[in-house]
Amino acid sequence: MAAPALQAARRLSGLTLGVRLAVWNFPGITQVRWSRYAPEYRDPLIDKEYYRKPVSELTEEEKYDQELKKTQLIKAAAATETSSVFADPVISKFTNMMMKGGNKVLARSLMAQTLEAVKRKQFEKYHAASAEEQATIERNPYRIFHQALKNCEPVIGLVPILKGGHFYQVPVPLTDRRRRFLAMKWMITECRENKPRRTLMPEKLSDELLEAFHNRGPVIKRKHNMHKMAEANRALAHYRWW
């Protein structure tokens, strides 16, 4: 409610360098979302190539950004981020969503086993296929993972809106973040619930990822269901006021 107004006020005060929102402008509303960092702290950027670029190759804007960054305070890097080539933000996010009870060790090992299983299956297919087919088989598990999640992202979502005492499912455009989140959530729910007994998560997840990569399977079906329902409820689209 007050969040957009507060964000707008933050953006305004963010125009100025390091100026805090000195006065809390919303009486009757207490701030719950706060952080140990002061509002002037910026997020760190961990990209070796960005810093190694020679000065001659920078555009005016980039030079200005670099100069600006020298005056800004930066937060500490998270414990899950490294400058390693194997660090992938999508994989980290997915691992965190798979994690239960804070058991990051288990979640990470499951993720590693999943990627290994995907690679093994693709290699088996590769060795069993003829020469023309071999060119079309994708064996990089990271590329398969990204493509599968991208295929699972819905374009439009449904939101329950209260009108006249009833909740109507109104079709609503989704932001990029929400789409990525839904794709990952659907994938994980599917693998947890519709698993035959005695199959382990890596095996089931690798199967689902490969099916999603080829645009078939239950998660893609769920996405299409969502689109169909949105299409069916098109008449209610005017209930949306934003």
Binding site: S13, T16, R36, K70, T71, I74, A76, A77, S84
Partner: protein, 266 residues
């Protein structure tokens, strides 16, 4: 009931008020152009816009980086009058608008009055001195903290990439890959993975906190052996900042820091 004399007095009073308003506010109470505005800055903005039309070109000046606009309290102090938040925000907007227009030295001077310099380089990094031990090997020591873990790291200038934590190899002390990645992070970032030896001691906290504390200590100790540019890169990558996040306390009336007791209807 009003007497005729009282009525006449009232009418005279109304006429008197209207004459006063007409005298003080010639364009009336509700005229838009008669509203009190920040005349100086707004006047300048209008002037410059008229001089060169409404299309604006970006002209970034390097001086802007080392300074910031005055905050509301400082502005109030300067103008010796109370400001409301909306007034202040509007004022800053006008000044930002002025920046985008082509301004001369007179306008520059006007704007400098409302700017305060800020530490141009936020790298008030304390660089540890390089010491030498009995065998003549150069090393540097530093401390780091994370949650309730404290670590002390001794980074040798020449080595082969061995890291010993509390006397044992880091492979044995940190069985989890994520912690070892964190230890290697500063070295990998500067491409100096197998060029330094590290001996560190750590106590307190959990496994992840200890890894974070050692990472900070190592990054700080490394500052003695690298160039200023590389120190700035490390700072912008977040390796030289102490993580201020600590465990939030439990509050009375709640089960935990955020979790409330189960709501019971009766």
């Amino acid at each position: 009931m009003l007497s005729p004399r009282d009525c006449r007095l009232l009418i005279n009073l109304c006429v008197y008020f209207q004459k006063a308003i007409a005298y003080l506010f010639p364009s009336g109470l509700f005229e838009k152009q008669a509203r009190p505005i920040m005349k100086e800055v707004y006047g300048k903005v209008l002037q410059l816009e008229a001089r060169r039309g409404p299309l604006s070109e970006k002209t970034e000046s390097k001086d802007l980086i080392g300074s910031r606009w005055l905050i509301k309290e400082e502005l109030e102090e300067m103008l010796v009058e109370k400001l409301s938040d909306q007034d202040y925000v509007q004022f800053i907007r006008l000044l930002e608008k002025l920046l985008t227009l082509p301004y001369g030295p007179a306008e520059e001077e006007l704007m400098q009055r409302f700017r305060k310099s800020v530490t141009v380089q936020s790298k008030k990094q304390v660089i540890e001195p390089v010491q030498r031990d009995e065998r003549g090997m150069a090393f540097s020591t530093s401390e780091g903290r994370r949650k309730s873990a404290t670590a002390q790291a001794v980074v040798f200038e020449h080595g082969s990439g061995k890291i010993h934590v509390n006397g044992v190899d880091y492979l044995l002390y940190f069985p989890v890959t994520q912690d070892r990645e964190q230890l290697m992070f500063p070295f990998h970032f500067l491409d100096r993975l197998e060029k330094h030896d590290v001996t560190c001691t750590v106590s307190g906290g959990g496994r992840s906190a200890q890894a974070g504390a050692i990472r900070l200590a190592m990054a700080r100790a490394l500052c003695s052996f690298i160039t200023e540019d590389e120190i700035e890169w490390m700072r912008q990558a977040g390796l030289l900042t102490t993580d201020p996040r600590i465990r939030e306390r439990k509050k009375p009336g709640q089960e935990g820091a955020r979790r409330k007791f189960t709501w019971k209807k009766r």
